[in-house]
């Protein structure tokens, strides 16, 4: 993350995203597949690390092997195999949704994981249970813990969508987007942009 200044001189926190160029490697049609979608490929990959079936897949679109393949539905413009999709789809002032995998937090308690308030005071006889979850439910009925009870456990590493982030800048030559605010995931991770 970094920050840029708006026209009014406000300091806006932002994230830099390298968006594209992506290559269309497959076109799904209603006749063929029952739904319409476009498969985009991004980021170079070594040929020796590519399996033979995938090499054939990329050869069909007459492109080099790529690391990430994602299908997108609802493209406005018709796309053909081998077409390049680049950052100029976006313009400044647009709002986008960003989908990514959040950073793994490991095994976390209920206060961090589910926003429990913890045990309030240090008084009233309380000691050593400041961040405890409390009761899991009633006793003889139902004689079980309900499914989905919020407890401690693994946190993070989930698919997260952040909605309505404003595009502050577009640099077409560098394929860069500057998006306001933070986005899911670690530095260098892959995300999906939806407009």
């Amino acid at each position: 993350m970094t920050s840029v200044y708006s026209a009014e001189g406000k300091n806006i926190p932002c994230t830099v995203i390298e968006a594209g160029p992506c290559v269309v490697t497959q076109v799904r049609t209603v006749d063929n597949d029952g739904y319409a979608a476009v498969q985009l490929a991004y980021d170079e990959k070594k040929e020796k690390n590519t399996s033979k079936p995938m090499k054939g897949h990329f050869a069909k679109a007459s492109t080099t092997p790529k690391r990430k393949l994602v299908e997108f539905k609802g493209f406005e413009a018709e796309k053909n195999l081998g077409d390049v999709v680049s950052v100029d789809l976006f313009s400044e002032g647009d709002f986008v949704d960003v989908v990514g995998t959040s950073k793994g937090k490991g095994f976390q308690g209920v206060v961090k994981r589910h926003g429990f308030a913890g045990v309030g005071g240090q008084t009233h006889g309380q000691h050593n249970r400041l961040r405890a979850p409390g009761s899991l439910g009633a006793s003889s009925w139902p004689s079980k813990v309900f499914k989905g009870m919020r407890m401690a456990g693994r946190m993070g590493g989930d698919r997260v969508k952040i909605q309505n982030l404003e595009i502050l800048k577009v640099y077409p030559e560098q394929n860069l987007l500057v998006v306001s605010g933070s986005i899911p995931g670690a530095k260098g991770s892959y995300v999906i942009l939806e407009k």
């Binding site: 920050s3 390298e18 994602v70 999709v85 800048k169 860069l176």
Partner: protein, 130 residues
């Protein structure tokens, strides 16, 4: 519904550090005089009220400079009506009209947070003779 709205245009992306550097380099850098912690400065700050723009002056002691590159900031402390006031200015803010260095101070550290605990004669900073 108009399908236009649902039109999804997407691209797969990665975040890399040198890209951040590129964006930082695009920020226009203010040409401020060199100053550091201990110096007394006057910051001429642009304030917009409706369509009018005026310049406000804020004088005090620089107690820290923090950050680096285009996101660097400095903190100016002054005592106003016996109440301490600190303002943080981004070095490259377009709202900074200019910065005047009034005097250079002799200090032995880069962060002068100890000034917050001091008042009166103890809170003085020795001036550097030029």
């Amino acid at each position: 519904m108009q399908s236009d709205f649902y039109g999804i245009k997407i691209v797969v992306i990665s975040k890399k550090m040198d890209l951040v550097k590129f964006v930082n380099d695009q920020v226009t850098h203010n040409a401020l005089p060199s100053f550091k912690a201990g110096d007394t400065v006057t910051v001429h700050y642009k304030i917009r009220e409706g369509s009018k723009e005026r310049i406000q002056q804020y004088q005090g002691v620089v107690i820290t400079r923090s950050g680096s590159g285009s996101t660097q900031t400095f903190t100016v402390r002054k005592v106003s009506n016996s109440i301490g006031v600190e303002r943080i200015f981004p070095v490259n803010s377009p709202n900074i009209d200019k910065v005047e260095v009034n005097s250079r101070g002799v200090v032995r550290r880069a962060k002068l947070f100890y000034l917050r605990e001091l008042t009166g004669k103890k809170a003085r900073i020795k001036e550097k003779r030029v």
